[in-house]
Amino acid sequence: MTGAPAPDAVRVLAHGIGARHDLPLSPFYAFAGAFAALFVSFLALGLLWSHSRFTGERAGRPLPAAVQRLADARATRLTARALGLAAALSVVLWLLLGPADPDRNPAPGAVYVLLWVGLVPASLLLGPVWRLLNPLRTLHLLVCRALRRDRETGRRPLPARLGMWPAAAGLLAFTWLELVAPDPASPTALLVFLGVYTAVHLTGAVVYGAHWFDHADAYEVYSGLLARLSPFGRRPADGRLVVRSPFNGLDATPRLPGLVATVCVMLGSTAYDGFSDAPRWITTVQTSALGRTTTATLGLLAAVALVATLYALCAGATRLVCGGLPHPLTAFAHSLVPIALGYLVAHYFTLFATEGPHTLALALGADRPAAPEPPLGPGGVATLQVLAIVTGHVLGVIAAHDRSVRLMPPRRAVIGQLPLLALMIAYTVGGLALLIA
């Protein structure tokens, strides 16, 4: 960003978007939250059930047939596809033809706020919505139609080892763009990212068939993992839409390779977002001899690596305590999803509530509309943040508890949970500490 000063030089934002950040959490709230998390954890150890209760995919009460017909109707599906494609097209057109100033161009807000943050409430309420909206899936479908090829079969079968790894990489790339890239809101950066992303995933789909998107598309995986906590889901046995306890949805999280990595990227990147606000880190980045982008990249990678290392240590300890547990790493990864959700809510609630309407107003043609006032005052936001993080923690502890009593021999079930409990407390206290910073 050196060179002649331009009157409307491209805004450089520490975050992808948004001019106002939430106030740092007051230590009172943080301590209250940490204490609640500790208390609940040990209460859970003593009081929770000793035989597994969650039935995963088999659970749920079917929704009325009319609702199912409506949801499965061809018209609904086509509308969703068309909406997704139209939204993606308009974002690309705004990026290509719109002004560079993110205060006048809704495209960066559409990507960073409406898509990235908006997928959280959408998936929580409606299930894995991105699967329906995903414009890449629709593009692939259209291309296959045009070439009269079967979209499900690719040239090669999808290797099982791949699992969610491409999604983890995609998430990391996206969060890097949002949090680290020198100019995340510039149309060029977004176009390059979206172009590369589209190319990679369309290639993947052509080679491996449309199944590629199920576990490799970062946004589908992100939306799918969050949708595990939705009260609505589809029962694989009979294809019925059901209302179910979010715990059962969570319990049914497919244990694929790369699941741990995906969850660690979700947690680590959100943690880095909180951390990157701290003046000390900003000073480090600004004065580092390595250059800013390199330092910030290292910071993001370190945050993800720290989350992952702690998790690996914990899995090792669990195996040490219980012995012979198959795949202890992936066995408990699902229990981190609610914790990641807690982080996401705590960090992005205000952003979504203010920048979301702002972006929509921009897209509808308003000239520099004012972002609405945040819906919650400072106290309300602090309470929400602590509640989100502690609730995520509690859900995680319960999910992990049920999984441990199922997998571990009864004698060791309590002691076997201890490493995981310690890990979750560490994540939760860490998450709260980041909000103070």
Partner: protein
Amino acid sequence: MNRARPARTALALLTAAVLALGAGACGGRATTHHKPGTSHAEDTGSNGRLLKADDGDGHRLRQVDADGAPEVDLAVRPDSEDGWNVHLTVRNFRFTPDSVGGGALAGRGHARLFLDGHPLARVYGAWFHLPESLLRTAGGGIRLTAGLYADDHTAWAVGSSPIRAAATLGKASASPDDETTMVDLAIKDGKVTPAPGRTEIAKGRTVRLRVRSDRDDVLHVHGYDKEAKLPAGRTVTVTFTADRTGLFEVETHESDLLLTQLVVR
């Protein structure tokens, strides 16, 4: 058929009335003070009781019941550049700039400002900027009073005293005072002194940023969207009122440096 005729007559009358009103409204120049044909004569209508007493400035009082009477509160805060900003909070009252000079309607009218008892200005809305020059012209003073007046210039009153609120104009705004948080920042060779940190500011205070950069740059206060050119080697002052809570970043745009974070709560 019988009913149609009165209906048609009524419609014709209504049309005539609308036309006459419309012509009257369009004919005269829009004015916020006296409409053509009106004067300072007090309205003798039934809204409130016209008292013999006046407000000290020749306007008679119009007494209404305390129950549901108009109320006013007055708040002043220093303007960041010149004088004061006056904020009137009214209840049971509406500012009616278009009908001043007309009859006294309950709960309507305008406000008047007095400085140490001398009339200063008429106010037709909630906010009013009081420039230093106006204060000087009025002979100076620190006691600012606001009273509510009806469209016929009678003063709304309760219990034979006018409805008023008062505030004190503190020290002159030109000099930094207790209400102002000063933040001094310097940029040299891409380094910020003092090192980027957080500045705690109570909501509503005036913030005065003084920034000096060793190269041409642009200063930007996020959230408040204040921008200022920073010519190399000159100290630039940016002043604003911190009236939104949150964490806001102060940055430069050319060198992309975070200077400080303002924590407004």
